[in-house]
Symmetry: C2
Subunit: 231 residues, 2 copies
DNA sequence: TGAAAATATGAAGGATCGTTCAGTTTGAGG
DNA sequence: CCTCAAACTGAACGATCCTTCATATTTTCA
């Protein structure tokens, strides 16, 4: 969590006892289930509470209002995805560009397909939520991890790494989202994904600096890419 | 409009007099404005009517309920975008792959940036709408036009045109959407767009069939790509 | 011009939903 | 076991909101 949520969206209190944690998890899971079953419009505080097996009042002990619940839910999810991407990036340090792209696409796709309905439900719950800051924070984490990874590539270097990474991630995330939106059948979806890897590799090959005949980039230590705050 | 909307979402009646047409346009425009100013959650039948300068009852003469209004609004918009893409595809018949990609990206981007707030507002209004069929219809039109265009390319041919087009469009549309979602500053957004073109061209170059030394594809007549219904 | 059709009005009904709070139950620590 | 804080309950309130319909106004056209 790079940035804490805006004050009006932050939780009321944190659970101190074990049962409270259980309750919170139940509320989150119930929210997802109601979102899937009834859609965002029929997602009601009462319905969520009922499904979670708690009373409405309990929800309001943790969240000042419905929006805060949504916010926390999405934040939880994005944090999880960011974790996975970061792990992948770490694992691919020093590898080939092709492997990096493959791993990146696979990781993101896996994270989104693990529970397809959840992903689609969350895409919808995002609406009407001041989630600019949240997305920004997510993007920041992923940008940084990806840039660090590509900076360590064994077989390529890039002049404008920032733009390259931005393009790559925007297109990967966007493409995956588009695949979900179009509701493509599995076989076509997977075909597009495979092609996406081809596309990204071809792109990186097109924009990489000409290799200096044998002088491989120094990989003796990990290059940390500085945080670049987009104003 | 390839498919008519599901019965429960179709308009109640069509305007027969001039003033009715004016009213309808006012309602659509008001919907957009309220969507932008107040967000989808505060978008109320009363508010829309008020902004449109008509009474609530008038709205219900044309739409059986609020959702139908949303549906019609989005359908209108998508039809417009599809029109533009089709026009571009027609204009690029027989050109080079690079020009085609450039034109495609430019057209889609222009359509979405013409009124940025509208685009973002509509992205949000789409939620919670049985718009699968609508998106499917849009995708169908655009897929077909794009496939026809690329089939006529002067400098390349493709083995699996269907998959290539699907990949290309999914990534272009997805990337544009992602750019909007991240709210990138204009200069970065445009940089990504330029890179996107590079990316697509590199991809097409990577998957095109090896040119048969001088035997250019027959461009004497336009090849119509058959409609491919995704079951 | 006059009647029929199309269009517009907006107060009122009915239903749902978010949120509160006074009171109860449960768990932790001494 | 006792006490206090933490956690939980759910009926009730107030605020909207969607939709209808009886009525009024405007346009068409014979």
């Amino acid at each position: 969590m790079l940035t804490s949520p805006p004050p009006h969206l932050s939780p009321r209190k944190r659970p101190r006892q074990a049962r409270a944690t259980v309750t919170l998890d139940a509320i989150f899971e119930a929210t997802i289930q109601v979102l899937i079953a009834d859609g965002p419009r029929r997602l009601t505080t009462t319905r969520v509470a009922e499904r979670a097996g708690v009373s409405v009042g309990t929800m309001y002990q943790y969240f000042p209002h419905k929006q805060a619940l949504f916010y926390a839910l999405n934040e939880r999810y994005l944090d999880l995805v960011a974790d996975k991407v970061e792990a992948t990036c770490r694992a691919q340090q020093g590898g080939s560009v092709r492997d990096m792209v493959k791993a990146l696409v696979a990781t993101y796709w896996a994270a989104k397909t693990e529970r397809v309905e959840v992903t689609q439900a969350l895409y919808k719950s995002v609406v009407e939520l001041d989630n600019e800051a949240m997305i920004e924070a997510f993007a920041c984490r992923v940008d940084r991890a990806t840039a660090t990874m590509f900076a360590s590539a064994a077989d390529a270097a890039f002049a404008d790494l920032h733009t390259v990474v931005l393009t790559l991630l925007t297109s990967i995330f966007g493409t995956v989202r588009s695949v979900f939106e179009r509701n493509l059948p599995m076989d076509e979806a997977e075909a597009v994904l495979r092609q996406l890897v081809v596309m990204c590799v071809a792109y990186l090959d097109a924009v990489k600096l000409p290799s200096d005949g044998g002088m491989a980039p120094d990989r003796s230590r990990t290059v940390e890419v500085p945080v670049h705050d987009a104003a």
